[in-house]
């Protein structure tokens, strides 16, 4: 198998804090990979480095073998490296229709088109409709985003990322804060992601992690601490001591 996403000695420091410590990591094509680690381990920072929100202090990021370390976030998105946010970053007063349209328009290269009107109700672009359908958002396409139940908003986070046609999807705690009653929808949506998309899932919920992942990496204090298939990780005494013992759900 070949890596679709790879980092080489990636590092990030904030003043005195080393948030990412010399991480060399591989994500295989079509992977179902989980990244776990205690609070403040540097998981979100790692995602920020991968997606270009933060510049790394050292190291490189390769996407499909190509160095993307210096590319802007939007250029990475166009190459299929897409993320969701741990804390919702949605446009509160826009509708899901509008939000999804932006992603689809950009991908189709028509985001700069200043003559074409935003699609009228009757002809919601087919793609937006398909994405909405997939994530169970069809009936709320025209509601203001901030009026949606939290679970729907989390689904919209993922749907929007999906609308960018990712080859790598980085999910930063997609179920965080979602009440139990709405959780299922999210788990199902994640499970139903197409197999050709490589998924890196960051999650504290060990049930979800072990159901979903075929490979798990553990991040502690910014450094890769352990990596292996779920059984190996679950059995690793070091991991149990450092992470699972520390009040994780597992």
């Amino acid at each position: 198998m070949s890596a679709v996403l790879e980092t080489l000695g990636l590092g990030k420091r904030f003043g005195g804090i080393v948030a990412t410590d010399n991480v060399s990591f591989r994500l295989e094509r079509g992977a179902r990979h989980a990244l776990i680690g205690p609070n403040g381990a540097g998981k979100t920072t790692f995602v920020n480095l991968l997606t270009g929100v933060l510049p790394p202090s050292s190291g490189r990021v390769l996407l499909a073998g190509e160095d993307i370390t210096r590319l802007k976030p939007e250029a990475r998105v166009r190459r299929g490296l897409v993320r969701t946010f741990q804390i919702n970053q949605l446009f509160a007063d826009l509708t899901p229709l509008e939000t999804l349209s932006i992603a689809v328009d950009e991908r189709l290269g028509q985001g700069a088109d200043w003559r074409r009107r935003v699609g009228a109700h009757a002809d919601v672009p087919r793609e937006v409709a398909a994405v909405a359908e997939r994530f169970g958002l069809s009936d709320v396409l025209d509601a203001r985003t901030d009026t949606l139940p939290y679970g729907k908003q989390r689904l919209l986070e993922i749907a929007v990322a999906f609308a960018c046609a990712p080859q790598v999807l980085l999910l930063d705690e997609p179920a965080a804060g979602v009440p139990e009653s709405e959780r299922r929808g999210i788990l199902e949506a994640i499970a139903a992601l197409p197999s050709e998309v490589a998924v890196l899932l960051i999650e504290h919920d060990m049930d979800l992690v072990f159901h979903f992942a075929t490979r798990i990496s553990v991040l502690v204090d910014g450094a890769l601490f352990a990596e292996g298939d779920p059984a190996t990780i679950a059995a690793d005494p070091k991991v149990r001591a450092v992470y699972l013992g520390e009040g994780g759900h597992g």
């Binding site: 929100v53 166009r78 985001g111 700069a112 088109d113 935003v118």
Partner: protein, 314 residues
Amino acid sequence: MSANASLVRRARWRWPEALVWVIAFGLLFLPPGKHLLLNEIAILALFALSLDLILGYAGIISLGHAAFFGLGAYAAGLMCKHVTPDPLAGLVVATLLAAMMGLLTSLLVLRGSDLTRLMVTLGVALVLHEIANALSRWTGGADGLQGMVVGPLLGRFDFDLYGRTAYAYSLTALFILFLAARRIVHSLFGLSLMAIRRNRLRAAALGVPVNRRLVAVYALSAAYAGAAGALLAQTTAYVSLEVLEFGRSADVLLALIIGGAGWLYGGLAGAVIFKVLQDTLSAGAPQFWMFWMGLFLVVLALVGRDRLFRLVRR
């Protein structure tokens, strides 16, 4: 402003909108007397519309929007004196030049925080002001650019003393540019701007090329400001350094804030209120106008723009 309506609905024409324009054009048939003021209103409205494009739709604060207004004014003035008296040619050239200037300076403006942006925009306007002052052989320096003889509009309509032609000219330009702006903000491009204004990080994560969009809208806004400046130069046949001064940048910001940023008609409504008030209040003593303006701003800022406008709308 009516943010909860969906964009699609926002793009549709409603009858009050049409009414606004019917009245604006209807005022052309007023007996002579007020057309000079109306002309000034139309020009300020265009200038405020231009600021709205960056402030209301892209979230860029500028304290130096007069840079483009002034550039357009001088460009139109010099075109008229040295190249051709035809106003339309001057208008087009001034608009294009201002757009180019916007393109160039956007690179400075896009970096940094709100605070640096405030100062950079202010600085750019001041630099242009100093240049205009230094090139007095061309610009007339502190005395202003005099001796413009503007030719008839379309080769037919002379600019009269009462300003009727001037108002017709400015209003038509405003109308056409307004239609274009309306089209643009409701387009896919406009939608991506809305995303950028709300959350840049998110917009970029959706694949929106943030900087490129901002450069584009900044240049567009500069072009509009340049057109407004050109209209002023041509309809008054005079350009002074005042077109580049801080006061101009402040005035247009005020006009836009009065009308409300981010809904296109804010600039228009603001320009009407601003000019009418200015006209009435400074009839007594010029200080009155400034005083009331200042008081209004202080109250506005203290109460909060959103809250004040909500009160007024009720």
